[in-house]
């Protein structure tokens, strides 16, 4: 059921990233890490569809935080909405991440808004682990202090070398694997599609598994329109794959169930 969500605050987090807090107790109470809300932004005018956003954080008093990047017409309008504005939210939608046991080291691999989408996971993980954050440059690094406060170690890779490791975030994954040969680890990924494909392949090739949050352009958000699909393995199909709806069957998928084209 769509819910009214009043904007409590809506401010700049860093550069084009913003943080909006909605008061939506019904959704906040049900939210599990990795789920998303489908937001009908107020005053959208001739832009009519809802926009999906991962839930960054929820509090027991009914607050729900979304961290978003201003990229187009909808997020531009959202950025202008003052506190007190009411939007219409559907959620929590999608399948959540699995929270690990306290003897497992959670390793979160994130890029873009991926750190926002996994912050609640870090908070709720019984064992504190490592965030491996990839970005083009230092401008795109968000929530690093918040992850540290949640007890996570933060390691960074940037394409331009402006902060941390100069290169790809997946190279940091190899380091973590080398450093912890005996430790039980649980991998999570959320970020750009290419990064998730690289991570998924690396994990499955190494005989490991993980959970990847794969999303795609959405429309209905509840599994009805088949807009948001990605390829997953399907042995019962002659092609070896089928299109799965990320809003309904995902966004979180087991890495070994995802179809990696070059391998097949």
């Amino acid at each position: 059921m769509p819910q009214h969500g009043e904007i409590i605050s809506n401010e700049i987090l860093k550069d084009s990233y913003r943080k909006v807090v909605f008061y939506v107790p019904d959704i906040a109470a049900k939210t599990q890490p990795g789920q998303f809300v489908h937001v009908k932004i107020a005053n959208l005018r001739d832009r009519i569809l809802r926009r999906p956003f991962s839930i960054c954080n929820v509090t027991p008093d009914g607050m729900l935080t979304v961290v978003y990047k201003v990229v187009g017409s909808g997020t531009e309008i959202l950025a202008e909405l003052p506190p007190g504005t009411v939007c219409d939210l559907m959620g929590p939608l999608g399948n959540p991440f699995t929270i690990g046991d306290d003897d497992e080291l959670p390793v979160i691999v994130a890029g873009g808004y991926g750190s926002a989408a996994t912050y609640l996971l870090a908070q709720r993980s019984p064992a504190k682990g490592i965030l491996l954050l990839g970005a083009r440059s230092s401008d795109d690094l968000i929530l690093t202090e918040e992850f540290k406060s949640a007890g996570f170690e933060v390691r960074i890779a940037t394409n331009d070398g402006s902060v941390g490791h100069h290169g790809l975030v997946t190279e940091l994954v190899a380091d973590v694997m080398r450093e912890n040969p005996k430790r039980k680890m649980r991998f999570y990924g959320c970020g750009p599609f290419g990064m998730l494909m690289a991570l998924g392949k690396m994990l499955t090739r190494g005989g490991m598994d993980g959970e990847l949050s794969l999303d795609h352009l959405m429309c209905c958000g509840v599994g009805a329109c088949f807009a948001c699909v990605v390829k997953v393995k399907d042995e019962s199909n002659a092609d070896g794959w089928r299109y799965a709806r990320t809003c309904k069957e995902g966004p979180v998928f087991q890495a070994h169930k995802v179809y990696y084209p070059e391998e097949n």
Partner: protein
């Protein structure tokens, strides 16, 4: 008391509001939002003989007051639709009036799907023939834009089932009234219109089409005036009932289609914006009837004053 029940000849509905095929999944996706039997009918996503992958992504793009889609009719195939728990068995239990949208890549496939559904017809109120898909045998020309092919499809389906059939007309033709007349002549019990209007959108930064299929179908409020005009033209051309759709967001939009000549309406893209839209449209029609003292909803059909 306002009476919303409507008689479509071969089927009777408790109210004139349906869901548009492809925008309401197979019903199960929205069952948490409201009981499906509150709708006049649930029209499910297009079904063919075999399972199909559908098109590559991106499959949708938002445009001014509407959207383009080229989903490519991803679906489970008729066997799974009839027997898979989340499809027809679920719909039968829901008590909804179910209309099954069908398609094929050849005339023969249309006939086969209709026959398969006819053989297992419990809970199916009617078939809606989607003729807007390309014919593989004729090199991809859409059945719905070639009047001979369209007639062949409708006749083939007519021959395969005694279920009521609805022909869903494509707006991508010069004279939609001609296609409606052909449908009536081939034994179609109703016509529904409009399907999406072919469109295209380009990302000017990357210079690439916004959807992978290059072109897609335009739907939503942007197409409503075109749809109302076509319903009006078809109403003057045929005697069989018309199901009108295209950009309906509110009860008043639905009334507009009925005044143009529709006996029933379908809500599509609006569901993506508000899953409760079909229920709100029903309530909106009722409010309009109360305001204007209309007792039976059929009084609205074709009542535009020109």
């Amino acid at each position: 008391m306002t009476d919303l029940s409507i008689d479509l000849g071969k089927i009777q509905l408790k109210n004139p509001v349906m869901t548009a095929s492809g925008t309401f999944g197979y019903g199960v996706e929205y069952a948490d939002f409201f009981p499906l039997d509150q709708l006049g009918a649930v029209v499910v996503k297009g079904i063919r003989m075999e399972p199909s992958h559908g098109n590559p992504t991106p499959r949708v793009a938002e445009v001014s007051s509407g959207m383009l889609n080229a989903i490519g009719l991803q679906g489970p195939g008729v066997e799974k639709f009839l027997h898979g728990e989340e499809y027809m068995p679920f719909l039968r239990r829901s008590g909804a009036t179910v209309i099954v949208n069908i398609w094929g890549k050849t005339v023969e496939e249309y006939r086969e799907v209709a026959a398969a559904l006819d053989a297992d017809r419990e809970g199916i109120a009617a078939l809606e023939i989607n003729i807007s898909c390309p014919n593989v045998k004729e090199g991809g020309v859409a059945f719905g834009t070639d009047i001979n092919l369209a007639s062949q499809v409708i006749s083939a389906v007519r021959g395969a089932t005694s279920l009521p059939i609805i022909t869903k007309l494509s707006p991508n033709v010069t004279s939609i009234a001609d296609f409606a007349r052909a449908a009536e002549a081939c034994g179609s019990d109703m016509v529904s219109l409009i399907n999406t209007i072919t469109g295209m959108a380009i990302d000017v930064r990357t210079r690439r089409p916004k959807i992978a299929n290059v072109t897609g179908g335009l739907s939503g409020p942007a197409i409503k005036p075109v749809a109302v005009r076509m319903v009006y033209q078809v109403y003057k051309a045929v005697k069989i009932p018309i199901i009108g759709m295209g950009g309906i967001m509110t009860g008043e939009d639905a009334v507009e289609f009925m005044l143009a000549g529709a006996s029933a309406v379908a809500v599509g893209t609006a569901i993506f914006i508000d899953p409760m839209a079909p229920i709100k449209v029903i309530a909106g029609i009722r409010e309009y009837m109360d305001e204007f003292g209309i007792k039976q909803v059929s009084e609205l059909i074709g009542a535009v004053k020109v």
